[in-house]
């Protein structure tokens, strides 16, 4: 493989520790959260140690340095996504980013392209994470708009056959995930974006499972909003990103300091984007840590990371499918998918399987993965998921398979 995984792993201190009585840590849960390299941990620490002050507020040197560090991180995120700095908003995570969009639309004055009425439609898909489903359910409930969705086919792809009916003239928003965090399916965006724009709808892309794993250029994708979480991209917890090319048209969400233009006791007006969306003293150290994460990923190379994960996914799929009664939930065609691999093993409940794997040092996730409507639809209320990243390697797959086989004996 083209990545030097052994060298990369040296940068991630957690791999020095063991779990469950001295077992090597096999971390296959990066879809939930990724591990962090020293450079990210140190960037956060150094911000506090050397430059800590409230950005945009003080007229002193520390405040200048803090502002430079924070705005520098914004520029890094922007160029990572092929965007402009003014198009980047720091949030506390993808969940907040998505809620921000939905609430801000709810705040839009009637007549705005974002204001929804009972005549309008919001389109999602059956494979959305709860974070990209419930905010839209709630917006629909508040505005009277109708929530409709693309169904998921048994093989884990979206059913786009009736795209022109699902996305109708009344559709104002199409919100969907780039890669499913359960199935690994990567959704084809071109047709969806084209149809959405044809009817004047905006496209909101949940890129939580794609931005960390492949090169992304927002201009090429053609979507109007994109969100992701820092902590899934080797960055700190407590920071996420909202990118949008239409921020200027969007009303604010959180209200408070630094997002204002003028304030009286009775009313207020707003600063231009991105400030309008960053009320209060921001998550400065975390944004700076995310900047360091992006530096790290860029240095390794997103194309290389993507290639590495594809090869690894191929190996995992091949080896896992050799295990009797193991069933992959999601597409097995590499063209259609990324490195979130869900499966079931005979009648062993995923909770029991996960627990057994844990006893062997293998960390996976089990359950509905916050995409309950999807797992229900597929008739597998819970699955076991192995999700991969730049620091994983083939031998970990062998150990996973070995542990699964042992679990089959244990629960036989």
């Amino acid at each position: 493989m083209s990545l030097d995984v052994a060298t990369i792993r040296k940068d991630f201190p957690i791999f020095d520790r063991t779990v469950r009585d001295g077992k090597k840590l096999i971390y296959l849960d990066s879809g939930a959260t990724s591990q962090k390299p020293n450079s990210v941990i140190d960037a956060e620490g150094d911000f506090y140690r050397f430059h800590n002050a409230a950005v945009h507020r003080g007229a002193h040197q520390l405040a200048e340095e803090a502002t430079d560090a924070y705005e520098g991180a914004r520029s890094k995120v922007a160029s990572f996504l092929g965007a402009r700095a003014e198009e980047i908003v720091f949030t506390k995570g993808a969940t907040e980013s998505l809620n921000l969009i939905a609430y801000a639309m709810g705040n839009a004055a009637s007549g705005s392209r974002f204001a929804l009425t009972s005549k309008d439609q919001i389109v999602v898909t059956e494979m959305e994470h709860h974070a990209n489903l419930i905010p839209w359910q709630q917006l629909a409930a508040r505005t009277g708009a109708q929530l409709t969705w693309f169904e998921v086919l048994p093989d884990g792809r979206l059913d786009l056959n009736s795209i022109n009916e699902v996305i109708s003239e009344n559709t104002k928003v199409v919100a969907l995930t780039h890669q499913s965090n359960v199935l690994g399916t990567i959704n084809p965006l071109d047709a969806i974006v084209a149809r959405a724009h044809e009817v004047g709808a905006v496209v909101v892309l949940d890129a939580c499972q794609s931005v960390p794993h492949m090169p992304i250029d927002v201009k090429t994708l053609g979507v109007d909003f994109l969100v992701f979480s820092g902590h899934k991209a080797i960055g700190p917890t407590g920071v996420g990103v909202l990118w949008s090319s239409v921020l200027e048209e969007l009303p604010p969400f959180l209200f408070g300091g630094s997002m204002i233009e003028n304030v009286t006791m009775k009313s207020a007006t707003w600063a231009p984007a991105p400030k309008r969306f960053e009320a209060g003293v921001p998550n400065m150290a975390q944004a700076v840590g995310l900047g360091a994460a992006i530096d790290y990923l860029s240095k390794v190379g997103m194309d290389k990371i993507h290639e590495h994960e594809l090869l690894l996914t191929k190996y995992f799929l091949e080896q896992l499918q050799k295990v009797p009664t193991l069933k992959i939930i999601g597409p097995t065609d590499l063209e259609l998918r990324g490195s979130c691999i869900s499966f079931t093993v005979g009648q062993i409940h995923p909770h029991d399987l996960g627990q057994y794997l844990d006893s062997q040092g293998v960390a996976v996730r089990t359950g509905h993965h916050c995409a309950w409507p999807l797992t229900r639809k597929l008739g597998v209320p819970a699955t076991t998921r192995a999700s991969l990243y730049l620091y994983n390697f083939e031998e970990e797959c062998d150990l996973l398979v070995e542990a699964i086989v042992k679990a089959q004996k244990y629960f036989a």
């Binding site: 469950r20 009585d21 409940h349 995923p350 909770h351 029991d352 627990q355 057994y356 006893s359 089990t366 359950g367 509905h368 309950w372 797992t375 229900r376 209320p381 819970a382 244990y410 629960f411």
Partner: protein, 155 residues
């Protein structure tokens, strides 16, 4: 493997493979449906009493070995107890589950359920072990409302 075996005791795997009282009775006084939001496990729980004594517990559901074994054990243990006795046994069990591995459980009170003591060391699994017991508590409240309409006064 020590740790894991303390979780998956023989008794538990037995109950899991051969669950007691599984399969819903056609008749029941109350039926409740409970869900474990973190993993998606579900249970339907039927309860019947006569003169305050539990006469029948049947259930059905999907879930892991811990949740299935736990409800199987409960359905056997609580049978023929008064609602009050069963309620206090449930409290003892819930306390055991929250003991973080510091308690063994009293076999005179909990019988087979002491085998679940190891669960208390695995925080993510406590909800699994409690699923059936929470369903029982809920059903018990409802059956009281049904069978003992408020006799305490006219408020």
């Amino acid at each position: 493997m020590m740790e894991l075996d303390s979780l998956y005791q023989e008794v538990i795997l037995d109950h899991y493979k051969h669950p007691l009282n599984k399969g819903l009775s056609e008749e029941y006084d109350v039926q409740v449906h409970h869900i474990n939001p973190s993993c998606g496990d579900e249970i339907t729980f039927n309860l019947s009493t006569e003169g305050g004594i539990i006469k029948s517990i049947t259930w059905d559901g999907v879930g892991c070995s811990i949740s299935q074994a736990s409800v199987s054990i409960a359905s056997d243990l609580l049978l023929n107890k008064t609602l009050e006795q069963a309620g206090s046994i449930a409290e003892v069990f819930i306390e055991l589950m929250h003991s973080k591995g510091t308690k063994d459980g009293d076999p005179l009170v909990l019988e087979d359920a002491v085998a679940l003591a190891g669960v208390s060391k695995f925080p993510a699994r406590i909800k699994c072990a409690l699923l059936g017991w929470m369903a029982f508590k809920d059903a018990a409240v409802r059956i009281k409302q049904l069978k003992e309409p408020d006799t305490r006064g006219s408020n």
